[in-house]
Protein backbone atom coordinates (compact mmCIF):
# COMPACT_ATOMS: atom_id res chain seq x y z
CA UNK A 1 0.00 0.00 0.00
CA UNK A 2 1.05 3.52 -0.72
CA UNK A 3 2.44 5.16 2.38
CA UNK A 4 0.76 8.56 2.29
CA UNK A 5 -1.56 8.60 -0.66
CA UNK A 6 -4.49 6.69 0.72
CA UNK A 7 -6.22 9.54 2.48
CA UNK A 8 -6.06 11.94 -0.45
CA UNK A 9 -7.14 9.13 -2.71
CA UNK A 10 -10.21 8.54 -0.59
CA UNK A 11 -10.86 12.22 -0.20
CA UNK A 12 -10.84 12.73 -3.93
CA UNK A 13 -13.98 10.67 -4.48
CA UNK A 14 -17.04 12.43 -5.88
CA UNK A 15 -19.72 14.63 -4.32
CA UNK A 16 -22.09 13.63 -1.57
CA UNK A 17 -25.48 12.18 -2.25
CA UNK A 18 -27.70 12.89 0.66
CA UNK A 19 -31.27 11.69 0.68
CA UNK A 20 -30.49 8.67 -1.48
CA UNK A 21 -30.38 5.17 -0.18
CA UNK A 22 -26.84 4.10 -0.75
CA UNK A 23 -26.22 0.53 -1.77
CA UNK A 24 -22.96 -1.29 -1.70
CA UNK A 25 -23.07 -1.64 -5.48
CA UNK A 26 -22.92 2.11 -6.00
CA UNK A 27 -20.04 2.32 -3.56
CA UNK A 28 -18.01 -0.19 -5.54
CA UNK A 29 -16.09 -1.34 -2.50
CA UNK A 30 -13.27 -3.79 -2.85
CA UNK A 31 -14.09 -5.90 0.18
CA UNK A 32 -10.73 -7.57 0.01
CA UNK A 33 -9.23 -4.35 1.29
CA UNK A 34 -11.01 -4.11 4.62
CA UNK A 35 -9.90 -5.68 7.80
CA UNK A 36 -11.98 -4.04 10.50
CA UNK A 37 -15.02 -1.91 11.20
CA UNK A 38 -12.98 1.27 11.65
CA UNK A 39 -11.32 0.69 8.38
CA UNK A 40 -14.58 0.18 6.55
CA UNK A 41 -16.26 2.99 8.41
CA UNK A 42 -13.48 5.41 7.59
CA UNK A 43 -13.79 4.64 3.93
CA UNK A 44 -17.57 4.78 4.03
CA UNK A 45 -17.56 8.18 5.68
CA UNK A 46 -14.93 9.60 3.38
CA UNK A 47 -16.44 8.22 0.25
CA UNK A 48 -19.27 10.37 -0.95
CA UNK A 49 -19.76 11.52 2.61
CA UNK A 50 -21.91 8.48 3.14
CA UNK A 51 -24.06 8.59 6.17
CA UNK A 52 -23.93 5.22 7.81
CA UNK A 53 -27.69 5.54 8.33
CA UNK A 54 -28.25 5.63 4.60
CA UNK A 55 -26.16 2.59 3.91
CA UNK A 56 -27.97 -0.70 3.66
CA UNK A 57 -25.96 -3.13 5.67
CA UNK A 58 -27.94 -6.02 4.23
CA UNK A 59 -26.43 -5.08 0.87
CA UNK A 60 -22.97 -5.21 2.37
CA UNK A 61 -23.64 -8.72 3.62
CA UNK A 62 -25.03 -9.89 0.27
CA UNK A 63 -22.14 -8.33 -1.65
CA UNK A 64 -19.75 -10.06 0.67
CA UNK A 65 -21.43 -13.43 0.22
CA UNK A 66 -21.16 -12.95 -3.55
CA UNK A 67 -17.55 -12.06 -3.13
CA UNK A 68 -16.87 -15.18 -1.07
CA UNK A 69 -18.61 -17.30 -3.67
CA UNK A 70 -16.57 -15.91 -6.56
CA UNK A 71 -13.40 -16.54 -4.62
CA UNK A 72 -14.38 -20.17 -4.48
CA UNK A 73 -12.97 -21.02 -1.08
CA UNK A 74 -14.79 -20.32 2.13
CA UNK A 75 -12.12 -19.05 4.43
CA UNK A 76 -13.80 -19.60 7.79
CA UNK A 77 -11.64 -17.14 9.63
CA UNK A 78 -12.25 -14.34 7.15
CA UNK A 79 -15.95 -15.08 7.10
CA UNK A 80 -16.10 -14.98 10.89
CA UNK A 81 -14.21 -11.71 10.93
CA UNK A 82 -16.70 -10.30 8.50
CA UNK A 83 -19.66 -11.29 10.64
CA UNK A 84 -18.04 -9.60 13.62
CA UNK A 85 -17.39 -6.54 11.48
CA UNK A 86 -20.99 -6.30 10.34
CA UNK A 87 -22.16 -6.76 13.92
CA UNK A 88 -19.94 -3.86 14.96
CA UNK A 89 -21.32 -1.71 12.14
CA UNK A 90 -24.87 -2.62 13.14
CA UNK A 91 -24.16 -1.57 16.69
CA UNK A 92 -22.66 1.71 15.51
CA UNK A 93 -25.60 2.28 13.27
CA UNK A 94 -28.19 1.58 15.95
CA UNK A 95 -26.38 4.01 18.22
CA UNK A 96 -26.47 6.66 15.53
CA UNK A 97 -30.19 6.08 15.05
CA UNK A 98 -30.87 6.37 18.75
CA UNK A 99 -28.79 9.47 19.12
CA UNK A 100 -31.12 11.61 17.02
CA UNK A 101 -34.07 10.75 19.22
CA UNK A 102 -32.67 10.79 22.68
CA UNK A 103 -29.92 13.23 22.19
CA UNK A 104 -29.80 14.58 25.74
CA UNK A 105 -29.79 11.12 27.28
CA UNK A 106 -27.23 9.32 25.15
CA UNK A 107 -24.97 12.02 23.79
CA UNK A 108 -23.10 13.06 26.86
CA UNK A 109 -20.12 14.18 24.78
CA UNK A 110 -19.98 16.96 22.25
CA UNK A 111 -20.24 15.97 18.57
CA UNK A 112 -16.85 17.55 17.93
CA UNK A 113 -15.30 15.51 20.68
CA UNK A 114 -17.02 12.36 19.48
CA UNK A 115 -15.74 12.97 15.96
CA UNK A 116 -12.26 13.56 17.33
CA UNK A 117 -12.28 10.30 19.25
CA UNK A 118 -13.66 8.37 16.32
CA UNK A 119 -11.06 9.88 14.01
CA UNK A 120 -8.31 8.93 16.40
CA UNK A 121 -9.46 5.33 16.61
CA UNK A 122 -9.86 5.05 12.86
CA UNK A 123 -6.41 6.47 12.25
CA UNK A 124 -4.90 4.14 14.83
CA UNK A 125 -6.51 1.11 13.20
CA UNK A 126 -5.34 2.38 9.82
CA UNK A 127 -1.79 2.87 11.06
CA UNK A 128 -1.40 -0.72 12.18
CA UNK A 129 -3.06 -2.02 9.07
CA UNK A 130 -0.38 -0.23 7.09
CA UNK A 131 2.28 -1.62 9.43
CA UNK A 132 0.82 -5.09 8.81
CA UNK A 133 1.29 -4.48 5.09
CA UNK A 134 4.91 -3.65 5.75
CA UNK A 135 5.39 -6.84 7.78
CA UNK A 136 3.89 -8.77 4.89
CA UNK A 137 6.50 -7.28 2.58
CA UNK A 138 9.30 -8.19 4.99
CA UNK A 139 8.07 -11.79 5.15
CA UNK A 140 7.83 -11.89 1.38
CA UNK A 141 11.42 -10.68 1.06
CA UNK A 142 12.55 -13.59 3.24
CA UNK A 143 10.77 -16.13 1.06
CA UNK A 144 12.88 -19.22 0.68
CA UNK A 145 15.11 -18.58 3.69
CA UNK A 146 15.02 -21.60 5.98
CA UNK A 147 16.69 -22.31 9.29
CA UNK A 148 18.09 -25.53 10.65
CA UNK A 149 15.91 -27.12 13.29
CA UNK A 150 17.80 -30.22 14.26
CA UNK A 151 18.06 -31.56 17.81
CA UNK A 152 21.46 -31.46 19.48
CA UNK A 153 23.60 -34.52 18.73
CA UNK A 154 23.15 -37.22 21.40
CA UNK A 155 26.76 -37.18 22.58
CA UNK A 156 26.53 -33.47 23.25
CA UNK A 157 23.13 -33.69 24.91
CA UNK A 158 24.47 -36.17 27.46
CA UNK A 159 27.34 -34.00 28.56
CA UNK A 160 25.40 -30.78 29.06
CA UNK A 161 25.50 -29.80 32.69
CA UNK A 162 22.19 -29.84 34.53
CA UNK A 163 21.30 -26.76 36.54
CA UNK A 164 22.51 -27.11 40.10
CA UNK A 165 20.26 -28.14 42.97
CA UNK A 166 18.60 -25.29 44.80
CA UNK A 167 19.40 -22.83 42.01
CA UNK A 168 15.75 -21.80 41.68
CA UNK A 169 13.91 -19.78 44.28
CA UNK A 170 10.56 -21.29 45.37
CA UNK A 171 9.26 -17.77 46.09
CA UNK A 172 8.67 -17.22 42.35
CA UNK A 173 6.04 -19.97 42.54
CA UNK A 174 4.19 -18.31 45.42
CA UNK A 175 4.32 -14.98 43.63
CA UNK A 176 2.95 -16.50 40.44
CA UNK A 177 0.10 -18.09 42.38
CA UNK A 178 -0.72 -14.80 44.12
CA UNK A 179 -1.07 -13.06 40.77
CA UNK A 180 -3.46 -15.80 39.64
CA UNK A 181 -5.60 -15.39 42.77
CA UNK A 182 -6.36 -11.75 41.95
CA UNK A 183 -9.87 -11.28 40.58
CA UNK A 184 -10.06 -9.04 37.50
CA UNK A 185 -11.98 -5.80 38.01
CA UNK A 186 -15.71 -6.07 37.35
CA UNK A 187 -16.72 -4.80 33.93
CA UNK A 188 -18.65 -1.59 33.90
CA UNK A 189 -22.07 -1.97 32.31
CA UNK A 190 -22.69 1.74 32.44
CA UNK A 191 -22.61 2.15 28.66
CA UNK A 192 -25.56 -0.20 28.29
CA UNK A 193 -27.50 2.30 30.39
CA UNK A 194 -30.62 0.27 31.09
CA UNK A 195 -32.77 2.12 33.58
CA UNK A 196 -33.94 -0.37 36.15
CA UNK A 197 -37.54 0.06 37.05
CA UNK A 198 -39.85 -2.67 38.30
CA UNK A 199 -43.58 -3.11 37.94
CA UNK A 200 -43.97 -3.32 41.72
CA UNK A 201 -42.24 0.05 42.13
CA UNK A 202 -44.61 1.63 39.64
CA UNK A 203 -47.60 -0.14 41.25
CA UNK A 204 -46.71 1.45 44.58
CA UNK A 205 -46.28 4.80 42.84
CA UNK A 206 -49.73 4.58 41.17
CA UNK A 207 -51.43 3.42 44.35
CA UNK A 208 -49.93 6.40 46.14
CA UNK A 209 -51.42 8.74 43.53
CA UNK A 210 -54.77 6.92 43.64
CA UNK A 211 -55.05 7.50 47.36
CA UNK A 212 -54.96 11.24 46.63
CA UNK A 213 -57.80 10.92 44.10
CA UNK A 214 -57.77 11.41 40.32
CA UNK A 215 -54.61 12.01 38.37
CA UNK A 216 -53.54 12.10 34.75
CA UNK A 217 -51.21 9.49 33.27
CA UNK A 218 -48.85 12.28 32.23
CA UNK A 219 -48.61 13.35 35.86
CA UNK A 220 -47.78 9.80 36.87
CA UNK A 221 -44.83 9.56 34.44
CA UNK A 222 -43.85 13.23 34.24
CA UNK A 223 -40.36 13.51 32.73
CA UNK A 224 -39.59 9.77 32.99
CA UNK A 225 -37.74 7.82 30.27
CA UNK A 226 -39.53 5.52 27.84
CA UNK A 227 -38.77 2.41 29.80
CA UNK A 228 -40.40 3.88 32.93
CA UNK A 229 -43.41 5.01 30.89
CA UNK A 230 -43.83 1.49 29.51
CA UNK A 231 -43.51 -0.15 32.91
CA UNK A 232 -45.97 2.35 34.40
CA UNK A 233 -48.46 1.40 31.70
CA UNK A 234 -48.01 -2.25 32.65
CA UNK A 235 -48.61 -1.32 36.28
CA UNK A 236 -51.76 0.56 35.34
CA UNK A 237 -53.11 -2.44 33.39
CA UNK A 238 -52.34 -4.60 36.40
CA UNK A 239 -54.33 -2.23 38.66
CA UNK A 240 -57.20 -2.41 36.18
CA UNK A 241 -57.12 -6.18 36.16
CA UNK A 242 -57.28 -6.22 39.94
CA UNK A 243 -60.16 -3.82 39.82
CA UNK A 244 -58.31 -1.09 41.68
CA UNK A 245 -58.30 1.56 38.97
CA UNK A 246 -59.87 2.58 35.68
CA UNK A 247 -59.45 5.50 33.33
CA UNK A 248 -61.05 7.78 30.78
CA UNK A 249 -59.73 9.41 27.67
CA UNK A 250 -61.81 12.09 25.94
CA UNK A 251 -60.08 11.95 22.57
CA UNK A 252 -57.29 10.02 20.86
CA UNK A 253 -53.91 11.11 22.19
CA UNK A 254 -55.74 13.18 24.75
CA UNK A 255 -55.16 13.19 28.47
CA UNK A 256 -55.76 9.91 30.28
CA UNK A 257 -57.55 10.50 33.53
CA UNK A 258 -57.01 7.73 36.05
CA UNK A 259 -59.17 7.17 39.11
CA UNK A 260 -60.08 4.44 41.56
CA UNK A 261 -62.64 1.91 40.33
CA UNK A 262 -66.17 2.64 41.49
CA UNK A 263 -66.90 -1.08 41.63
CA UNK A 264 -64.45 -3.74 42.64
CA UNK A 265 -65.27 -5.89 39.60
CA UNK A 266 -63.53 -5.57 36.22
CA UNK A 267 -65.31 -3.66 33.47
CA UNK A 268 -64.19 -2.31 30.14
CA UNK A 269 -62.60 1.10 30.01
CA UNK A 270 -63.68 3.58 27.36
CA UNK A 271 -60.42 3.81 25.52
CA UNK A 272 -56.85 2.84 25.84
CA UNK A 273 -54.50 4.95 23.89
CA UNK A 274 -51.35 6.80 24.45
Amino acid sequence: MCATGWASELLAVGPGRYGERVSIATLDLDLDLFSGPFDLLLTLILREEVDLMELQLADVVLAYLDYLETRGDLDLETATEFIVLIAALLELKSRLMLSTEDEEELLDIEPAQAAEELLERMLEARRYRAAAGHLGELLQAEEGVRFREAPLPANLRKTIAQPTDGSQNPEILGQALGRLLAMPPAISLRHIGLPRVTVSERLAHLRGLLRRGRFSFDEAVGGADRMTVAVTLFALLELYKRGEATWEQEESFGEIAVHASAVQAPGYPEAVAG
Binding site: A3, T4, A7, S8, L11, G16, Y18, G19, V22, S35, G36, P37, F38, I45, E49, D51, L52, M53, E54, L55, Q56, L57, A58, D75, E77, T78, V84, L96, T100, P111, A112, A114, A115, E116, L119, L123, E124, A125, R127, Y128, R129, A130, A131, A132, H134, L135, G136, L139, E142, E143, G144, V145, R146, F147, A150, L156, R179, L180, M183, P184
Partner: protein
Protein backbone atom coordinates in the same frame (compact mmCIF):
# COMPACT_ATOMS: atom_id res chain seq x y z
CA UNK B 1 44.56 -19.51 16.65
CA UNK B 2 42.07 -17.08 15.12
CA UNK B 3 41.30 -19.69 12.48
CA UNK B 4 40.43 -22.26 15.10
CA UNK B 5 38.17 -19.73 16.83
CA UNK B 6 36.48 -19.11 13.51
CA UNK B 7 35.83 -22.85 13.16
CA UNK B 8 34.45 -23.08 16.70
CA UNK B 9 32.11 -20.16 16.10
CA UNK B 10 30.92 -21.78 12.89
CA UNK B 11 30.24 -25.05 14.71
CA UNK B 12 28.26 -23.28 17.44
CA UNK B 13 26.16 -21.40 14.90
CA UNK B 14 25.51 -24.71 13.15
CA UNK B 15 24.35 -26.42 16.36
CA UNK B 16 22.18 -23.66 17.79
CA UNK B 17 18.70 -23.24 16.38
CA UNK B 18 18.35 -19.73 17.80
CA UNK B 19 20.52 -16.74 16.92
CA UNK B 20 23.63 -16.46 19.12
CA UNK B 21 24.63 -13.06 20.47
CA UNK B 22 28.26 -11.99 20.35
CA UNK B 23 28.30 -12.13 24.14
CA UNK B 24 27.07 -15.74 24.20
CA UNK B 25 29.72 -16.66 21.65
CA UNK B 26 32.41 -14.90 23.69
CA UNK B 27 31.39 -16.68 26.90
CA UNK B 28 31.18 -20.11 25.25
CA UNK B 29 34.55 -19.79 23.51
CA UNK B 30 36.17 -17.92 26.43
CA UNK B 31 37.36 -15.23 24.06
CA UNK B 32 37.13 -11.47 23.99
CA UNK B 33 34.37 -9.57 22.20
CA UNK B 34 36.95 -8.21 19.76
CA UNK B 35 38.16 -11.70 18.87
CA UNK B 36 34.57 -12.86 18.29
CA UNK B 37 33.91 -9.87 16.11
CA UNK B 38 36.97 -10.63 14.00
CA UNK B 39 35.98 -14.29 13.71
CA UNK B 40 32.46 -13.37 12.61
CA UNK B 41 33.85 -10.96 10.05
CA UNK B 42 36.12 -13.62 8.60
CA UNK B 43 33.22 -16.09 8.52
CA UNK B 44 31.01 -13.52 6.81
CA UNK B 45 33.67 -13.30 4.07
CA UNK B 46 33.60 -17.08 3.63
CA UNK B 47 29.82 -17.08 3.52
CA UNK B 48 29.63 -14.20 1.03
CA UNK B 49 26.52 -14.37 -1.11
CA UNK B 50 26.53 -16.70 -4.09
CA UNK B 51 29.46 -18.76 -2.94
CA UNK B 52 27.72 -21.15 -0.56
CA UNK B 53 24.38 -22.83 -0.06
CA UNK B 54 24.35 -21.50 3.50
CA UNK B 55 24.30 -17.87 4.54
CA UNK B 56 25.46 -16.12 7.68
CA UNK B 57 22.80 -13.67 8.84
CA UNK B 58 22.58 -11.16 11.66
CA UNK B 59 19.03 -11.63 12.94
CA UNK B 60 17.05 -11.46 16.16
CA UNK B 61 19.81 -9.89 18.22
CA UNK B 62 22.46 -12.38 17.19
CA UNK B 63 24.03 -14.44 14.41
CA UNK B 64 22.55 -17.46 12.73
CA UNK B 65 23.00 -19.66 9.68
CA UNK B 66 20.22 -19.91 7.10
CA UNK B 67 19.72 -21.62 3.76
CA UNK B 68 20.22 -19.77 0.48
CA UNK B 69 16.76 -19.00 -0.99
CA UNK B 70 18.06 -20.37 -4.31
CA UNK B 71 17.72 -23.84 -2.81
CA UNK B 72 14.05 -23.30 -1.92
CA UNK B 73 12.56 -25.30 -4.80
CA UNK B 74 14.64 -28.33 -3.95
CA UNK B 75 13.97 -27.88 -0.22
CA UNK B 76 10.24 -27.78 -0.84
CA UNK B 77 10.46 -31.01 -2.83
CA UNK B 78 12.54 -32.69 -0.14
CA UNK B 79 10.65 -31.54 2.98
CA UNK B 80 7.29 -31.27 1.25
CA UNK B 81 6.12 -28.40 3.36
CA UNK B 82 6.18 -24.68 3.03
CA UNK B 83 8.65 -22.69 5.04
CA UNK B 84 6.14 -20.37 6.75
CA UNK B 85 2.50 -20.28 5.95
CA UNK B 86 1.50 -16.76 4.95
CA UNK B 87 -0.37 -14.62 7.42
CA UNK B 88 -4.05 -13.76 7.10
CA UNK B 89 -4.84 -10.02 7.26
CA UNK B 90 -6.12 -10.43 10.82
CA UNK B 91 -2.93 -12.22 11.87
CA UNK B 92 -0.68 -9.67 10.17
CA UNK B 93 -2.55 -6.81 11.83
CA UNK B 94 -2.43 -8.43 15.25
CA UNK B 95 1.27 -9.12 14.80
CA UNK B 96 1.90 -5.49 13.77
CA UNK B 97 0.06 -4.19 16.85
CA UNK B 98 2.07 -6.49 19.13
CA UNK B 99 5.33 -5.57 17.38
CA UNK B 100 4.80 -1.84 17.80
CA UNK B 101 3.01 -1.65 21.15
CA UNK B 102 4.48 -4.56 23.11
CA UNK B 103 3.91 -5.63 25.79
CA UNK B 104 0.20 -5.50 25.06
CA UNK B 105 -2.88 -7.43 26.20
CA UNK B 106 -5.49 -9.10 24.04
CA UNK B 107 -8.32 -6.72 25.05
CA UNK B 108 -6.11 -3.79 24.05
CA UNK B 109 -5.41 -5.36 20.64
CA UNK B 110 -9.16 -5.88 20.21
CA UNK B 111 -9.80 -2.24 21.09
CA UNK B 112 -7.40 -1.05 18.41
CA UNK B 113 -8.61 -3.43 15.73
CA UNK B 114 -12.28 -2.96 16.50
CA UNK B 115 -12.78 -6.71 16.17
CA UNK B 116 -11.67 -9.59 18.31
CA UNK B 117 -8.08 -10.73 17.87
CA UNK B 118 -8.38 -13.93 19.86
CA UNK B 119 -8.14 -16.48 17.09
CA UNK B 120 -5.39 -14.53 15.32
CA UNK B 121 -3.40 -14.22 18.55
CA UNK B 122 -3.80 -17.94 19.25
CA UNK B 123 -2.40 -18.81 15.82
CA UNK B 124 0.53 -16.40 16.23
CA UNK B 125 1.29 -17.94 19.63
CA UNK B 126 1.13 -21.44 18.22
CA UNK B 127 3.53 -20.48 15.43
CA UNK B 128 5.87 -18.92 17.96
CA UNK B 129 5.76 -15.44 16.43
CA UNK B 130 4.50 -13.89 19.66
CA UNK B 131 4.97 -15.03 23.24
CA UNK B 132 3.66 -14.23 26.68
CA UNK B 133 5.32 -11.40 28.57
CA UNK B 134 3.73 -11.48 32.04
CA UNK B 135 0.41 -9.99 33.05
CA UNK B 136 -1.03 -6.50 33.21
CA UNK B 137 -2.03 -5.04 36.59
CA UNK B 138 -5.55 -6.30 35.90
CA UNK B 139 -4.42 -9.86 35.25
CA UNK B 140 -4.66 -9.90 31.45
CA UNK B 141 -1.82 -11.80 29.77
CA UNK B 142 0.58 -9.49 27.93
CA UNK B 143 2.23 -10.42 24.64
CA UNK B 144 5.46 -9.51 22.89
CA UNK B 145 7.07 -10.62 19.66
CA UNK B 146 9.58 -13.49 19.83
CA UNK B 147 13.09 -14.04 18.51
CA UNK B 148 11.43 -16.34 16.00
CA UNK B 149 9.51 -13.33 14.68
CA UNK B 150 12.69 -11.32 14.13
CA UNK B 151 14.33 -14.34 12.50
CA UNK B 152 11.52 -15.06 10.05
CA UNK B 153 10.98 -11.42 9.15
CA UNK B 154 14.68 -10.78 8.55
CA UNK B 155 15.08 -8.23 11.35
CA UNK B 156 18.10 -7.74 13.57
CA UNK B 157 16.16 -5.82 16.21
CA UNK B 158 12.72 -4.27 16.66
CA UNK B 159 14.35 -0.89 16.12
CA UNK B 160 14.63 -1.78 12.44
CA UNK B 161 10.88 -1.48 12.09
CA UNK B 162 10.03 1.91 10.57
CA UNK B 163 8.23 4.49 12.72
CA UNK B 164 4.52 3.64 12.50
CA UNK B 165 3.67 7.33 12.29
CA UNK B 166 5.03 7.31 8.75
CA UNK B 167 1.76 5.71 7.64
CA UNK B 168 -0.38 8.42 9.19
CA UNK B 169 -1.98 10.98 6.89
CA UNK B 170 -0.43 14.46 6.80
CA UNK B 171 -1.81 17.13 9.18
CA UNK B 172 -3.65 18.71 6.25
CA UNK B 173 -5.24 15.39 5.33
CA UNK B 174 -6.15 14.83 8.97
CA UNK B 175 -7.80 18.24 9.13
CA UNK B 176 -9.84 17.36 6.05
CA UNK B 177 -10.82 14.01 7.54
CA UNK B 178 -11.92 15.72 10.75
CA UNK B 179 -14.00 18.20 8.81
CA UNK B 180 -15.72 15.48 6.81
CA UNK B 181 -16.43 13.47 9.90
CA UNK B 182 -18.02 16.48 11.59
CA UNK B 183 -20.05 17.29 8.53
CA UNK B 184 -21.27 13.69 8.28
CA UNK B 185 -22.33 13.95 11.93
CA UNK B 186 -24.21 17.20 11.38
CA UNK B 187 -25.93 15.86 8.30
CA UNK B 188 -26.96 12.82 10.27
CA UNK B 189 -28.52 14.90 13.03
CA UNK B 190 -30.49 16.85 10.43
CA UNK B 191 -31.38 14.04 8.03
CA UNK B 192 -34.65 12.17 7.99
CA UNK B 193 -35.64 8.55 8.22
CA UNK B 194 -33.00 5.84 8.49
CA UNK B 195 -32.62 3.41 5.63
CA UNK B 196 -32.96 -0.02 7.24
Amino acid sequence: MSESLQRTVEALLFLASDPLSEQELAEATECSAAEIEAALQALAGQYAEGRRGIRLRELGGGWTLASDPAAEDAARRLFSRRRVATLTPAQAETLAIVAYLQPISRPEITRIRGVSADSAAATLLERGLIEEAGRSQFGAVLYRTSTQFLKLFGLRTLQELPDAARWDPTPEEQAKLRERLLRAGEARAGSGAPAD
